[in-house]
């Protein structure tokens, strides 16, 4: 199902380092995305302004024109395609600066391949106006956005407000890998990684509430990367 979704995703990659470009192209191609490559900032800007791409991936430090310059010009030219900035500059202030300049997401090198794919898909989905309905469904899980309630197999799950936020984010990215960093940024609005394992603990608590009293696990840990909500069929495993 996911493969079908992303078959049409057209990506522009502006990246000057050939080996990294090859790596990114390989990762995205493996996820059935079509990738055009621009090797410097000027070419990146020209192609981004001319072509119709679903998602644009910009390296931050490009020769001739930096990623920040490109995004500034694209946005002032009215190009609204979602932009993911890929950068070797990973400090909090760089992320804030990147996001403030108009990019939609910011991913630092080195990154997890699954995370890159997940983020490109998320951007594509968001841009495609694929608004989630009032109820998100995944397997036997239900997330009622208005009422802010969570259900599994028709049973109400008592979640705290933050646990609900976490659950909702996982449901919005159901089936995809979600990293700790994504959770910190979207659920707790933090763009740095606390030294202790607070995210894992919070996810662990949510998992207990999602799985206790049920047969099948629904929240899987992707070792060294993050988490993924998997589908358990309604009516039990």
């Amino acid at each position: 199902m996911i493969m079908d979704d992303s078959a049409q995703i057209a990506v522009l990659l502006a990246e000057d380092d050939p080996s990294q470009a090859a790596n990114v192209i390989a990762i995205l191609n493996a996820a059935s995305m079509r990738v055009d490559h621009a090797a410097d900032g000027g070419e990146g800007l020209r192609r981004a302004a001319a072509g119709r791409y679903d998602v644009i991936i910009l390296d931050r430090m490009l020769p001739t024109l930096s990623g920040i310059d490109i995004i500034t010009r694209l946005r002032s030219a009215g190009v609204g395609a979602p932009v993911l900035m890929l950068s070797a500059l990973g400090r909090a202030e760089h992320r804030v600066e990147g996001l403030e300049s108009g990019v939609d997401d910011y991913l630092t090198k080195p990154f997890e391949p699954v995370e890159l794919v997940a983020r490109v898909r998320a951007l594509w989905r968001r841009a495609g106006n694929q608004q989630h309905g009032a109820v998100l469904l995944h397997g036997d899980l239900e997330c009622h956005l208005k009422a802010r309630t969570a259900w599994r197999q028709g049973r109400h799950l008592p979640l705290s407000p933050k646990e609900f936020e976490l659950f909702r984010y996982l449901m919005e990215h159901a089936g995809e890998v979600v990293t700790r960093e994504m959770l910190l940024r979207h659920v707790w609005k933090l763009s740095f990684d606390p030294q202790t394992n607070v995210v894992d603990v919070n996810v662990g608590r949510l998992r207990r509430k999602l799985e206790e009293g049920f047969d099948a696990p629904v929240l899987e840990t992707v070792w060294g990367t993050g988490y993924r909500l998997i589908a358990a069929e309604p009516g039990g495993a």
């Binding site: 990294q20 990973g90 400090r91 804030v96 090198k109 933090l190 740095f192 606390p194 202790t196 603990v201």
Partner: protein, 449 residues
């Protein structure tokens, strides 16, 4: 623009000094002129009195006391056209009045033929000389000085008006000049204030004046240019360092990932996974070091600081840590006063609090307690009831790479160094004290210290 008041402002003081100098010099000039006029009047009166006295002495010698009395009466009956009056007194040896229009002997010694200004009982100043005419006869001759007095009055009036005029002019000119200078100096001050407030591109307007203030403006702008270049250079160096180190690590990571995909051996996979974890550790270390250096360089730089709600940030963190506290079996109490605001970078302040919380949870014993307090000031307090920090380590704990118990393992000993750098960037004071038992970290605004 700060208002220094008239006496603290350099320009106010200069204007006042100019006024004072003009008043004092007018006064001195008046005193000199007055002195000259007085000396001249005295000399003229002296000659006139002495001539009259000599004539009367001759008359006394040739005509005797009766003749003298008659001639004095003659003289007194003459109306002088210059309006001045003459005064005479003739007494016998015992001081009894024989002739003249004075009723009392003035305070003059006839024995030494004394001559000076005396004041008559009716208050009129008179220049007079006394002398002994014979064994039983003394004479005083005096002249009024109405002309001189009127001249001096006119002089005084003239000097007073001129003095007032000079004072007004100097006040006005001083004020004008000071206002011009002041506006130029304040342009320099305003520029530095703007730079402190974060508008690093602010420069002193230069109008090509080749005077001291023009030079000051030039020097100020050159210094600000250099500060701007240094900030850029510092940033460029740290960005390049990050880029140059992250890029090869990225290649390395990609290669390990490929190797991971090619192996089915779980032991090898675990080892490779560990290698990837270590690469992430190096990246984190690099970021932390650059964060500390970058934050330290931004001390006093107000760019990017906004009015933030510290209580909201603390609430979000408390929420994040509550779960992990329960999980670890550590009691966690958050006492967050609502609506505590400050000027700051929200991400950095979150990071500061999160680093202190991480540290506390790491050092609280199983079953222990961590207390997180936010109070106005702002005041941030994080307490644990662990082993605490020995007094000799309380300064050192904020230095880079300091780990009091290295065997406790996690981290590079940079969390508290970054906390300190962030606190100082926000003009906050950070300190650790004894919570008896345990450590109490406090971050305080300047007014609460």
């Amino acid at each position: 623009m700060p208002d220094f008041g008239l006496f603290r402002s350099v320009f106010g003081r200069v204007t006042l000094s100019a006024l004072l100098v003009s008043l004092v010099s007018t006064l001195i000039l008046f005193a000199i002129v007055d002195q000259i006029v007085r000396a001249d009047a005295r000399a003229m009166l002296g000659r006139e009195v002495d001539t009259d006295l000599a004539g009367l002495a001759d008359i006394y010698v040739s005509g005797g006391p009766a003749e003298l009395t008659a001639r004095i009466a003659d003289r007194l009956s003459v109306e002088r056209i210059d309006g001045e009056r003459a005064f005479y007194l003739v007494t016998d040896g015992r001081g009894r009045r024989l002739a003249g229009n004075l009723t009392r002997w003035p305070d003059l010694s006839a024995d030494v033929s004394e001559a000076r200004f005396v004041t008559l009982p009716d208050g009129e100043p008179v220049f007079a000389r006394a002398t002994i005419l014979g064994p039983d006869s003394r004479l005083v001759v005096g002249r009024s000085d109405r002309r001189g007095e009127s001249l001096r009055r006119r002089l005084a009036t003239a000097f007073a008006s001129a003095g007032a005029l000079v004072a007004l002019v100097s006040l006005f000119a001083g004020h004008l000049a000071a206002r011009r200078l002041r506006s130029r100096v304040e342009a320099v001050n305003a520029t530095f204030a703007a730079v402190r407030d974060g508008r690093i591109e602010a420069r002193v307007p230069e109008h090509g004046e080749r005077d001291e203030l023009g030079t000051l403006a030039g020097h100020s702008n050159a210094a600000l240019d250099q500060i701007g270049r240094l900030i850029e250079a510092q940033r460029a160096v740290s960005d390049q360092t990050a880029h140059e180190i992250r890029t090869p690590l990225m290649h390395l990571d990609t290669r390990i990932l490929r190797a991971l995909e090619c192996t089915a051996d779980p032991a090898l996979a675990a080892m490779l996974g560990q290698s990837r974890e270590e690469i992430r550790g190096v990246v984190r270390l690099l970021d932390s070091l650059l964060d500390i250096a970058g934050t330290e360089a931004m001390r006093g730089d107000m760019r990017g600081l906004e009015e933030i709600d510290l209580s909201d940030l603390a609430d979000a963190l408390a929420d994040l840590y509550t779960a992990s506290a329960e999980d670890m079996g550590i009691g966690f109490r958050a006492m967050i006063a609502p609506g505590v605001t400050m000027r700051g970078d929200p991400m950095q302040m979150s990071r500061l609090m999160s680093n202190l919380l991480d540290n506390a949870f790491r050092h609280a014993p199983p079953g222990g307690t961590v207390v997180f307090t936010i109070a106005p000031g702002p005041q941030i307090m994080v307490e644990d009831n662990g082993k605490g920090i020995a007094p000799e380590d309380r300064e050192r704990i904020f230095e880079r790479y300091t780990r009091i118990n290295p065997q406790q393992g996690v981290g590079h000993g940079l969390g508290l160094a970054l906390a300190k750098a962030i606190a100082e960037r926000h003009a906050l004071h950070i300190e650790v004290s004894d919570a008896a038992p345990g450590a109490r970290f406090r971050v305080l605004g300047e007014e609460t210290t």
